[in-house]
Amino acid sequence: MNSAPTRLLEVDLVVERRQVTVKTGFTLDAGERLAIFGTSGAGKTTILESIAGFVHLSSGNVRVAGRLVAGKVKGETALEARYRQVALVRQPTTLFPHLTVEQNVVYGIRRSPARSRIAELLERLGLSAFARARGAALSGGQRQRVALGRALASPFRVLLLDEPLSAVDVAAREALRLLTIETSLEHDAAGILVTHDLAEAQAFSDQLAIIDEGTLLRLGGAHEVVLSPLTRRVAELVGYGGFIPAPSAVNMWFAIHPDRVALGAVPERGVVLTGTVLATRPFGPRYECTVREQSGQQFVMHVDQPPATGALCALTALDPPVVAP
């Protein structure tokens, strides 16, 4: 008999799609938040829709608070959608187009809510002025706010977010992210964010899952996975742009991150390299340089003061992780 305590969300699934087979497994407790990060077409959305119970699983199952939501288990019937306690924000946004913004937001509230509470939620979503507008009259960012509000107002235990802020102005994202996290904690819920924006993933969640071509490559702390990607593919996906053979081990590489390279030789802070600057271009307030290292490998680095193009200079890769193929 399985005596392990029930986790709030248990996922173990295989979904066969035409282009890719999606295979993943993880568990989340109440209050935990996971970001699923990967390229387009990696199977992120399929994972979310599977957890919501809307995708036929080739094998495995999904449980919310111990109750079957998706998959086939002998002697058990999967919960009807209305009992799953799952809130889903899709990408592209799916609003109820014939209803107003306010009617959309309160749709999942079964008992008549206090007017002041709805007004406060609409205010925090930045939608007070549009409460009586319909979806078609809204911009992409406003539609995303409505979809997020509709999910947050419902009585969920698992919150599934598929790129929920991708069309929202950068300036407004922080407030909406905070609202999402607060509400999720109030519901004592588990949250999953799907995104291809690493900064967004780290800002939302404490855990990070890296998905590539349907497979879960790495699952760990949101910062830990980036600092210690373990394999070359994970390193590439989280932004490492160069790989220099590590002299200490066969078939292992130092992974070079553009933001973790310093000009000059500082051996106590990392690995000292020598490279030729091939090109320099502005990068926000800084500069991005393409460098060819002595081994012939190229990588990019972000610096405040760019060296002259063609210059041979000493560089320090700051504590570069060692990765396997």
Binding site: F54, L88, R90, T94, H98, Y107, G108, R134, G135, A136
Partner: protein, 290 residues
């Protein structure tokens, strides 16, 4: 750098590279031709209505519709069409929904079955219905057990109208349901709706304009059904049948008042449905202020 109109905008801008003036003339000419074509088709479609009004006099209308019992065919047609329409909604709506959601096995075969009455001449349908529900027919025997007869009865009229009109409703409803994204039904279910609740709160309002158009078309077809009706339900006399008989007995002037009556009785619902669905569609699409 010189600006070049993208290929897709050439027609709109009226510019043909290398031949600017000729291109503009061609564009204007084709627009004028299209407008002329539209006008001709519109006039051609409206022509019969204009002629109907032109050839009717108040006197002829009173002479035809004045005598006692003259309006009986109208009540018969209205009654039979209303019942046929009710049956279509009751049976056709779930069928159309399941077809649109791909939940029926052998969906293509089912669709073909719905199309079949549309593709068959109504007269042929009438003949075949005699074999099916007539006194000697397979179902006819069963109907006799419940004291129904499938020939020359009000019931037969309903069945004939149903066969002629139902495909229009089912196909219209199928298209209307297919236009509703199934993912938003899932969203409603996740937000706590039972399947029927989600259908009532989300699917039905969104499909309503298309359903109304399908219903209106079916109503017009049912009211005007003649081919199958004249074979299997010559009596009780509905309006189309009355027009045919009046035409045979009194020629054109005798038939036209009944034709007007049929138009007046059959047209308001489709026109209202069209106006309502156009307004609802534009409201949901956001082209009209809420």
């Amino acid at each position: 750098m010189s600006a070049t109109a993208p290929a897709g905008n050439l027609a709109a801008s009226g510019v043909v590279p290398g031949f600017p003036v000729a291109g503009r003339l061609v564009a204007r000419g084709s627009t004028a031709l299209a407008l002329l074509g539209a006008l001709v088709i519109w006039l051609a479609l409206l022509g019969p209505f204009a002629v109907l009004i032109q050839h009717l006099s108040f006197h002829s209308i009173r002479a035809a519709l004045g005598p006692p019992g003259a309006l009986e065919p109208l009540w018969t047609s209205l009654g039979a069409s209303a019942v046929a329409l009710g049956a279509m909604v009751l049976l056709g709506t779930p069928l159309a929904y399941l077809l649109a959601r791909g939940r029926l096995p052998l969906a293509r075969i089912v669709e073909l079955g719905i199309l079949l009455p549309l593709m068959m001449p109504p007269l042929v349908i009438g003949l075949l219905l005699i074999f099916l529900i007539g006194p000697e027919g397979t179902l006819g025997n069963l109907l006799a057990d419940v004291h129904l007869t499938g020939v020359n009865t009000f019931f037969a009229l309903i069945v004939a109208e149903f066969y002629e009109a139902a495909p229009f409703y089912v196909l219209g409803a199928h298209a209307a349901f297919a236009s509703v994204d199934p993912r938003i039904e899932q969203d409603a279910a996740l937000l706590g709706d039972r399947p029927l609740q989600a259908f009532r709160r989300i699917t039905l309002p969104l499909a309503a304009p298309g359903l109304a158009t399908g219903l209106a078309t079916a109503w017009a077809r049912a009211m005007g059904a003649f081919g199958a009706v004249v074979i299997i339900a010559y009596y009780p006399r509905g309006l189309p049948n009355q027009i045919f008989i009046a035409f045979q007995e009194f020629s054109l002037p005798g038939a036209l008042p009944f034709a007007l009556l049929l138009v007046v009785a059959a047209l308001p619902l489709p026109v209202l449905a069209y106006l309502w669905s156009a307004r609802t569609r534009s409201r949901v699409a956001g082209t009209e202020a809420p």
